[in-house]
């Protein structure tokens, strides 16, 4: 009888647990896990708008070959995302860490500064993109006006037909400053000054811009657009990493700090030998978030480049969206999605391993 009672109780508990978990399981499995597994399956199918209702054709690794081919250049997009990841880890995170250390040691107005520095994180990345389009606006935007006001660059460039060997003095000075050279070729000037379409037209000789005034196309030029997209992303998420690191800095026991102080340690030494080792696990998480976040980035690139692909600023996210929404090719889109998952998990594991090795 005891056994039966126990059994009954077990079944009862089981039913209850199941019911408690049911809504979460339906959501999680139905809308996250299953779709992702399905993505893996789709990535091996020839699946597009035309054959959506037909029996699907298994096409092996064709989709993967296609996305890495010269038509789509996923490889280049991944490199772009990895450059962003590198900038995040080596420029954005150090700024965040510096701010967290400064705020975390306890200063006047600490909460206020913390709250202000976090504000950009809360704004939609699409909105930030639109805002930066205005900041970069050729000729009239803040950047062009700022450069003009400090006489670093002429806001209006002069662009020529390559056959006219005229040296535009004003813009050459600014460009040489950026490139660290005495002079740059006319071809480079055209590439920097013009947006991609116009530069191609000039090169082909179908269009002339003879001594015409033409403002720098910050987001249009293939030399500048990638860098111009990086800046807002790096700017927006400094506050995010700062907040996480700040929470870590605050969790350092005050006694440790005080003891070190009594032993005559400077602020720098305390940070170096006590605080940073203490928050290592949070630094690890920040590095993982920075790298996986860079790989996944989409909104800002899409917003700033107005959904164009085939630019110098392609990232895996924009290619995925383009394959799905414009090319209506769901097989190749899924192949990109699978590459994203694999890379995110791989980098998370690699970064964890690196941090473990250092211990």
């Amino acid at each position: 009888m005891d056994g039966v009672e126990l059994m009954k109780k077990k079944v009862f508990t089981g039913v209850n647990v199941f019911l408690f978990l049911l809504p979460a399981l339906i959501l999680f499995i139905g809308f996250l896990i299953l779709p992702i597994i399905t993505s893996g399956y789709y990535s091996f199918l020839d699946l597009n708008l035309r054959n959506l209702n037909d029996p699907k054709v298994f096409c092996g690794w064709d989709n993967y070959r296609y996305v890495f081919s010269d038509t789509l250049k996923l490889g280049k997009a991944i490199v772009n995302a990895l450059i962003l990841a590198g900038l995040s880890v080596f420029i954005q995170l150090p700024i965040s860490l510096l701010l967290a250390l400064v705020l975390g040691r306890g200063i006047k107005g600490e909460r206020l500064f913390l709250s202000i520095f976090f504000v950009p994180v809360l704004i939609s990345t699409i909105i930030i993109g639109q805002l930066f389009i205005k900041i970069y606006y050729p000729g009239d935007g803040i950047l062009a006006q700022l450069l003009d006001s400090i006489h670093l660059a002429a806001p209006k460039g002069y662009v020529f037909n390559p056959s006219d060997a005229i040296q535009p003095v004003e813009c050459t000075r600014a460009l040489c400053f950026f490139k660290g050279k005495d002079h740059i070729t006319l071809h480079q000037q055209i590439g920097i000054w013009l947006n991609n379409a116009d530069a191609a037209a000039v090169a082909a000789g179908t269009k002339k811009f003879a001594t015409e005034q033409y403002p720098v196309q910050w987001l249009g030029s293939k030399y500048l657009q990638l860098g111009c997209c990086f800046i807002p992303i790096l700017w927006q998420y400094v506050g995010y990493h700062m907040l996480l690191l700040y929470a870590g800095v605050k969790s350092v026991p005050p006694e440790l700090r005080e003891a070190a102080k009594l032993d005559g340690a400077t602020d720098g030494q305390i940070n170096r030998y006590i605080v940073i080792p203490h928050i290592k696990s949070i630094i690890k998480i920040c590095v993982i978030f920075a790298v996986t976040g860079s790989l996944k980035s989409f909104d800002l690139f899409f917003s700033m480049l107005n959904g164009q692909v085939g630019t110098a600023a392609d990232v895996p996210g924009t290619l995925l969206y383009n394959q799905m929404f414009n090319a209506n090719n769901y097989g190749t889109g899924s192949a990109i999605a699978v590459m994203l998952i694999v890379m995110c998990f791989a980098f998370a594991l690699i970064i964890s391993a690196i941090f473990k090795k250092e211990d």
């Binding site: 508990t13 209850n16 647990v17 408690f20 978990l21 049911l22 809504p23 979460a24 959501l27 999680f28 139905g30 809308f31 996250l32 779709p35 992702i36 993505s39 789709y42 306890g106 500064f113 202000i116 520095f117 976090f118 504000v119 809360l122 704004i123 939609s124 990345t125 699409i126 909105i127 639109q130 900041i135 009239d140 803040i142 995010y240 996480l244 929470a247 005050p254 700090r257 102080k261 949070i282 998480i285 920040c286 978030f289 996986t292 996944k296 989409f298 909104d299 899409f302 917003s303 107005n306 996210g317 969206y321 799905m324 769901y330 899924s334 999605a337 699978v338 994203l340 998952i341 998990f345």
Partner: protein, 287 residues
């Protein structure tokens, strides 16, 4: 803090340098938002100095609130705003119900595998969400659910679920298990204990999870532009993005749309800054 400061005396010069650094970073963070607000109230003539002195970054000479009316009318921002609110609210409700129940089921009822189940849910924190877009889109189109608000509400709820469980578990740990025991002795079943005892004590978790979910939903773009994007209705970020195409030359209404899409989050942040910061920290430190 006072005690701390007496020990942590800083020299005057480093202190000045430190505040210069902080002031500079404050400016870098605030300026784009300030500029967005000011150019939303200006005309192109004022911004670019056509027929009047150029005023790109100063306060508007004349505050053109009409830009806001233009943005709202042209972009149907009122409707988009309402859609965004409704979708966020529904997703928050679903996340709260699902994550509170699941957390209770995993931490308050003893069973083998609860730990493993929890880890399974935590996978959702690292998976790139875009990876589910194509299958979800194809399935939704097949059953004709695209361009319905439901098409966004359910995936949004699924995306915030892992974080909801993570945050709820943290708060539920703080509720003494003795309460459950006492309720059990009084003859209260698990469901009644959950609803009458646990849930009312989870108010701080409810606000933290709710705000986190709100921010995720309010700002999301990729799924919104694929699953819910028609002339009948779209969310605010998608609407603002579309408006940009129509108004490339006139800056004021664009700025107005950007401000309209941003101010709800800023107001919520001013009220709940502590909860918001905690929700972001919880996700990272415990995940």
């Amino acid at each position: 803090m006072d005690n701390n400061e007496s020990i942590n005396k800083i020299g005057l010069l480093p202190k000045i340098l430190m505040y210069i650094l902080l002031a500079f970073w404050t400016a870098v963070n605030i300026f784009p938002i300030y500029w967005m607000f000011t150019f939303s109230l200006k005309s192109n003539n004022e911004l670019f100095g056509i027929g009047e002195p150029m005023n790109l970054i100063g306060l508007p000479r004349k505050w053109l609130w009409g830009n806001y009316a233009k943005a709202v009318q042209t972009g149907n921002l009122g409707g988009n705003f309402f859609n965004s609110i409704l979708i966020s609210a529904a997703a928050i409700l679903i996340v709260l119900i699902a994550s509170l129940m699941a957390t209770y089921g995993m931490t308050r009822i003893e069973w083998r595998g609860s730990e493993l189940m929890n880890r399974f849910f935590m996978l959702g924190l690292t998976i790139p969400l875009h990876a589910s877009l194509i299958p979800v889109f194809l399935a939704m189109s097949k059953i004709g659910m695209t361009n319905m608000r439901m098409a966004l509400i359910i995936p949004y709820a699924a995306f915030s679920l892992s974080m909801g469980i993570l945050i709820s578990a943290g708060f539920m740990e703080d509720i003494p298990k003795d309460l459950d025991e006492a309720a059990k002795i009084d003859g209260c079943g698990v469901w009644r204990t959950f609803i009458t005892i646990t849930v009312p004590l989870m108010k701080p978790a409810v606000s933290t999870v709710g705000i986190y979910t709100f921010l995720q939903c309010w700002n999301e773009f990729m799924f919104a532009s694929v699953l819910y994007n028609s002339s009948k209705g779209k969310t605010l970020p998608v609407g603002v993005k579309d408006l940009f195409g129509q108004y490339t030359t006139d800056w004021g209404p664009i700025g107005a749309a950007l401000v309209i899409a941003t101010f709800p989050t800023l107001i919520i942040y001013v009220i709940f800054s502590k909860n918001i910061q905690e929700s972001f920290i919880a996700g990272a430190v415990k995940g």
